[in-house]
Structures are given as C-alpha cells and as structure tokens.
Amino acid sequence: MTDSHAATQHGPELLHHFADEEQQRNSASLGMWLFLGTEIMFFGGMFLAYLVYRLNYFESFAASSRSIAVPLGAINTAVLLCSSLTVVLAVRAAQMGKRKLLIWMLILTLIFGLAFLAIKGVEWHEKYEEHHIPGNFMGRAFDVSDIQRDFPKLHVDPQHAQIFFSLYFALTGIHALHMIVGVGIFLWLIYKAWKGDFGPKYYTPVEIGGLYWHFVDVVWIYLFPLLYLIDRKPL
C-alpha cells in the first residue's frame, strides 16, 4: 500500500515507471545518445568515402577545395558555434525556470540556424554559377576548367573533381537537412516553452533537442577543415 501511495505523490511531469526526475532525464539522454551513435555511423560512411577518394585523388581534391570560399565557411562555423552557446544557455534558463530567457535563447538559436542555411544557400548558388555541380544540373554541365586555370600547378582531373563535389554536396546537403530538422524541433520547443511547459522539474525536451543541435554542430566542426581547408598553403 505504501508503494502505490508514494507513486501518486509525484507531479504530472514524472512518468510512473521512473523512480525520480533525475532517472527520467538520464534515461532520455541515454536514448538520445544511442540515436546519435547511429548518426555517427551514418555520417561516418560518407566521411570514409571522402577519406578513401581524398587519399587517391589528392591533387584534384586539393584544387577543388581551393575553389570554395573560406570566409563564408568560417563565418558559418562561427554562426553554428554561437547557436550552440544559445542552446546551452536555453537549457540553463529552463533549469532555473526563467521562461522569458528560455524563449529568447530558443528564438536566437532558430535565427542562427536559419542564418547558417541562408549562407549555405549563397555558397551552393556560387557553385551553381561556376558549373561546379556534378552532372548536368539545370542545364549547367559540370566543368572545372576554371579551377585548372586558377591553379595551373595542380593537375585537375575533371572526373576526380566531380567525385569531390559529389561528396561536398552530399555531406553539406545531408548536414543542411539535419539543420532543417533542427529548425523544426526548435520551433516546437519555442511553442512548448511559450505555453510554459518547461521548468526546473521538466526540461528534458530542451536538453534532448539541444543534444541533437550540438551533434549537428560537431559534424560541421569536422566538415569545415575537411572540405574547405584541404590544401591552402601557397603554391
């Protein structure tokens, strides 16, 4: 009798099968980390393909990488790092029950996320204008003769360069898709925070959504040097 009595003592945010709030939170983040483990392998496959081709076709990869603008990539890295800061401040605001601060931090995260996607769009458009999209995208046949002209000291094999740009678009594209999913998650978090659902006793969705956002940030931390900075030393 005492057990069932104790079970009715907790608030609505604690599910029956958990002993306390901390165990409930830990279970949720364990589950999220298991999912992120599958994500590591998912991106890992593409990183492996990149690694194998980079080792074999280094010169074409180096020249193609030089055709991508570093400033935009660096700014985008900074934008994502800023969004990670606002995420972690949002989690903290939820833990302390500061609803207004939480909403503002979530909105800032959303803005940084959208800014990242906008800058990514500018970069992709640049590649489109330069005929660097593999295949024959919207009537623009893949052509890297401009890269060969810019870096005469490197031998650029168009087929090898095409593999680089395929990997570039696959990796940044799947990453951007994750960002779009993240934007959806944060819109939902803002709505829940607006309703006042989160507080010191229950902020699991903010923490879990944050884990996802940080993971996407970590993927970009590797993508930036691997795609933009393959070989920038003076020729």
Binding site: G37, V52, L85, Y222, P225, R232
Partner: protein, 96 residues
C-alpha cells in the same frame, strides 16, 4: 543534479575558445607545414568537438555511466569502420 552548477560564465569561455580555434584553424591552413597541415587541422577540430561534447552536451557532468559507455563505443565503432577500411584501401590503388 550537478548540471545546475555549470555557470553561464563557463559557457561563454568555452564559446570564446571555440571561436578562437575556428580562426586559428582557418589561418594555419595558409601556412606551409608540410605533411602537418592535415594533422593540425584535425587536431584542432577534435579539440573543438571535445569542448562541445564535454561542456555543451554535459557529458563531463553526466551522472549516468551508461551514457559515457554508449558515447565511447560509438566513437570506437567509427574508428573500426575507418581503420579497417583504410587498412584495405591504403594497400591498393583505385583505377589506373
């Protein structure tokens, strides 16, 4: 409940270090370090990833050991995939 102890100041310091490391990695790429360019770039990236994982993803203060086991095994699986595949691909040449 140790996660409550992480102060906002710590988060700002981590963020500042991440921004500095971003510009360091972009700057160092333009120096000729021979074969070390890639090693330096990947080392900086790993430092940044560790800062995010340990402090922003609260792994440093995680009370649940099982979470740490999952994270370390995930990275281990990734290294198995990369390591064994490269052992194969690096001992042969593609095409030509």
């Amino acid at each position: 409940m140790s996660e409550h102890s992480s102060s906002a100041k710590l988060y700002w310091i981590i963020w500042g270090s991440l921004i500095v490391l971003t510009f360091v990695t972009a700057g160092v790429a333009y120096l000729d370090l021979g074969p070390f360019n890639t090693i330096v770039a990947l080392t900086i990236a790993t430092c940044k990833a560790l800062l995010v994982i340990l402090f922003f993803m609260h792994v440093k203060d995680a009370s649940e050991r099982l979470t740490k086991v999952v994270i370390i095994s995930s990275i281990f699986w990734l290294l198995i995939m990369l390591g064994l595949s490269l052992a194969d691909f690096s001992t042969r040449t593609i095409g030509s």
